[in-house]
């Protein structure tokens, strides 16, 4: 999934770079991202974490690599409620193998050291 996929556009993800040049997705707090009143829906946070994991992995592949990235599974831990504030997310590739990659993604609002959610994701790299 690219950051300009139809789903990413529906979600209204923005993108920026941190001081180390890493991709950071952004998501504004809007009614259409809300679950219980006043808080982000867990599904919106998960969708953002998956999107940044995909995009970060896609960037890490060689330019001539035609691998298609498919999700195997994702585990999302919710640490605190997502409040009425801008949410950011970034991903770290823990292992990039030939067939499988393991990526950790975090979402935060004020401080990346206090994430609102952390995802662990296994992704398949399919090459034909």
């Amino acid at each position: 999934m690219e950051t300009n996929s139809p789903f990413a556009r529906t979600m209204g993800f923005g993108s920026e770079r941190d001081s180390e040049g890493r991709l950071v997705l952004t998501m504004a707090f809007e009614t259409n991202k809300m679950g219980r009143p006043g808080f982000l829906h867990g599904g919106a946070i998960a969708g953002m974490l998956e999107a940044v994991a995909f995009a970060t992995l896609a960037e890490a592949l060689d330019a001539d690599d035609n691998a298609r990235i498919k999700p195997i599974n994702v585990t999302v831990n919710y640490l605190r409620g997502g409040r009425d504030a801008l949410t950011r997310a970034r991903a770290t590739i823990e292992r990039l193998g030939r067939r499988v990659a393991n990526v950790e993604a975090i979402a935060w609002q004020d401080d990346p050291d206090n994430p609102i959610a952390i995802a662990q994701m296994n992704l398949m790299l399919q090459r034909d």
């Binding site: 996929s5 556009r9 999700p71 994702v74």
Partner: protein, 147 residues
């Protein structure tokens, strides 16, 4: 549909319809499908605005995650017979295969164990044939009242 459910404290169909008509569930387009004692089934109508790649038409995993989060949430209130505020602690999804482009996806969540503070849930999603699931989920929720 299971009519033995204790509906004294809330009307499950009305609650699910109200929740799916608001916020992020509404953006994704999740609909009520069925429920019983301790389970809820929702339907995610196919929508090209939710695909991960316009060239394949395959739904992104995010909307399926959202539906399963909602279905498993609902199952807890259907298990306990009362509505109480809760927050997702964790949710894991195994994506067994992609949903077929153009097909609606159904997601059933089940609450299989409740304690005073934690609800344990699991569920499956399929795109027409429940015997060929596209995803399995497992997770836990925490009741937040008094927290």
């Amino acid at each position: 549909m299971d009519n033995t459910l204790p509906t004294g404290e809330f009307d499950p169909v009305q609650l699910i319809r109200m929740m799916s008509g608001n916020g992020h569930n509404r953006l994704i387009g999740v609909k009520y499908n069925a429920h019983g004692s301790g389970w809820a089934e929702l339907r995610l109508p196919y929508n090209s605005a939710l695909v991960s790649d316009a060239s394949t038409g395959i739904l992104a995993s995010g909307p399926i995650f959202t539906m399963m989060d909602m279905a498993t949430s609902m199952s807890i209130w259907l298990k306990s017979g009362k509505f109480q505020p809760q927050a997702t602690l964790d949710l894991r999804i195994d994506y067994l295969r992609p949903a077929e482009p153009g097909k609606d996806v159904f997601g059933r969540g089940e609450c299989y164990h409740l304690t005073r503070s934690i609800a344990f849930v699991r569920g499956q999603a399929h795109d027409g044939n429940p015997d060929r699931p596209i995803a399995h989920v497992a997770g836990t929720y925490m009741f937040t009242a008094g927290a």
